[in-house]
Subunit: 284 residues, 2 copies
């Protein structure tokens, strides 16, 4: 496997950065994560938009144009020859002269094999609620301190992940956005204090196109009781249905089955991704 | 300069860790920071206690005993031959197999020249209040994301640092503990949702020994109006007086001068550190 690090493609096991980088000293850095399916990057413009925005918000010079980044990703795909992959683009704070000022950031791009999301939703999962608000939530920083810290808590309860909330206002999972379908059939998802996912964005557009009423608004944990369905979304898996939050059943579907809205939207997401790969193949 | 990295002493510029370490991928790691004065580590047991506690709380195996860590620090001092220094001991999350499980942590010990704190307090500084609560505040993690993010805000206002609070309850600065002297002459400092500094601990003991009434309790930002003095404490500088929080004058001393309690306690801290260096010299 090859990794890109500061203008060089090198074996992944050789890619290392200074112990004095602000990422290691101060947990300061940003990243984005996109996937390729059949060799085609999915929603690359959305991911690059967000990456450049995160870098800008954190005052980190990328040192490359969008076109240069795209070319590096293409070359990394060629070197690794793994058609279905996850690609992580990380930008660190760099080595600081005074341990608080930003240095010369390191740009790291890694590629890993990753199975594409299926046409069908994966089996429903349990989430565990946890009162927490991510700092700088609308920037895709490397801060997953709480999520990693909570891993034994998540595992011991047989859960897929934590669901963060503040005073009952649901925000997100560490790496997924949260949705519920109300008793009236409206698709509701938190609007603030979250990272806005790329899958979330496309799912909202697909839902609106399909005539499903959509509300981006505060979502309270009490709303789970009456919800028909709940699910989370991510780049890697599209839609994962939620059967339980803590010890409470969510939704009216069989706990081992996805609800109809989750199934419909997952199919539409899958079709959208497949269409991207076909268009790209035709363009070649 | 030499750095210790995973069982090896190597030139500081060569010390690098994998881009797949959880420190870089997820901002997951801990550290501690102690100083040497005249070649003598100051309060080493306190710092090692806290380091091992942080590691334990974050489920990071140190892989070394206290005695081994002490011996490594002694050897690093010998190699670098810098009597007055700051020594940073960092433990990272290691390379994770699934990007959430802890890997094999990297242990990094770096040494930098650092002037000892003086007998006299440095000139008073301005702090800028900011509503924020550090996550896992009682563990010395590498998470300084907010502190680094706020640097332009701090600089633009001519401030030394931010003072975090939640709904007006003062907690701490990113790298210092906060104290005020009330109108009645009581030394008050926040008791919870903070990292308990080693200098804070010794200062509280010195104050109590000197007959200064001490209160560890919630401290509200409104209390600043009537306070005689305010100051912050850290390993590197001992006591730094605070003349302003935002645009408001704090304390009754001249804005360019430390108050009497700050001066007295700074002198006592200085004497305590000097006594440690003398005892260590005698023990040799």
């Amino acid at each position: 496997m090859y990794t890109f690090l500061n203008n060089t493609f090198l074996p992944a096991t050789d890619a290392a950065i200074s112990v004095n980088d602000l990422a290691i000293q101060r947990g300061y850095g940003i990243f984005d994560f996109l996937k390729t399916v059949g060799g085609v990057p999915i929603f690359p413009d959305d991911h690059l938009d967000r990456f450049f925005n995160s870098a800008d918000r954190m005052r980190l010079p990328v040192g490359k144009s969008r076109e240069e980044l795209s070319a590096i990703i293409t070359e990394l795909q060629r070197l690794n020859a793994i058609p279905d992959s996850g690609i992580r683009i990380t930008l660190t704070g760099g080595v600081s002269t005074d341990s608080v000022s930003i240095g010369h950031p390191s740009l790291v791009i890694t590629l890993h094999p990753m199975a594409p999301a299926g046409k069908d939703c994966p089996p429903p999962v349990r989430l565990i609620s946890h009162p927490h608000q991510r700092q700088l939530p609308d920037i895709k920083t490397i801060d997953y301190l709480m999520a990693i810290h909570l891993q034994p808590y998540i595992r011991d309860r047989g859960a897929f992940d934590v669901l963060y909330h503040t005073d009952g206002a649901i925000t997100e999972c560490p790496r997924c956005n949260f949705f519920l379908v109300t008793a009236e059939g409206t698709l509701a998802t938190p609007a603030r204090n979250i990272l806005k996912g790329i899958t979330r964005k496309h799912l909202l557009a697909l839902a609106a196109d399909s005539g499903i009423p959509v509300e981006e608004r505060d979502v309270h944990i009490n709303e789970l009781a009456a919800a028909r369905e709940a699910f989370v979304t991510s780049t890697s898996r599209h839609i994962i249905p939620v059967s339980h939050v803590d010890d409470f059943r969510v939704g009216t579907a069989h706990p081992a089955a996805a609800g109809p809205v989750a199934r419909q939207l997952n199919q539409l997401l899958h079709d959208l991704v497949m269409r991207q790969t076909l268009i790209a193949a035709t363009d070649r």
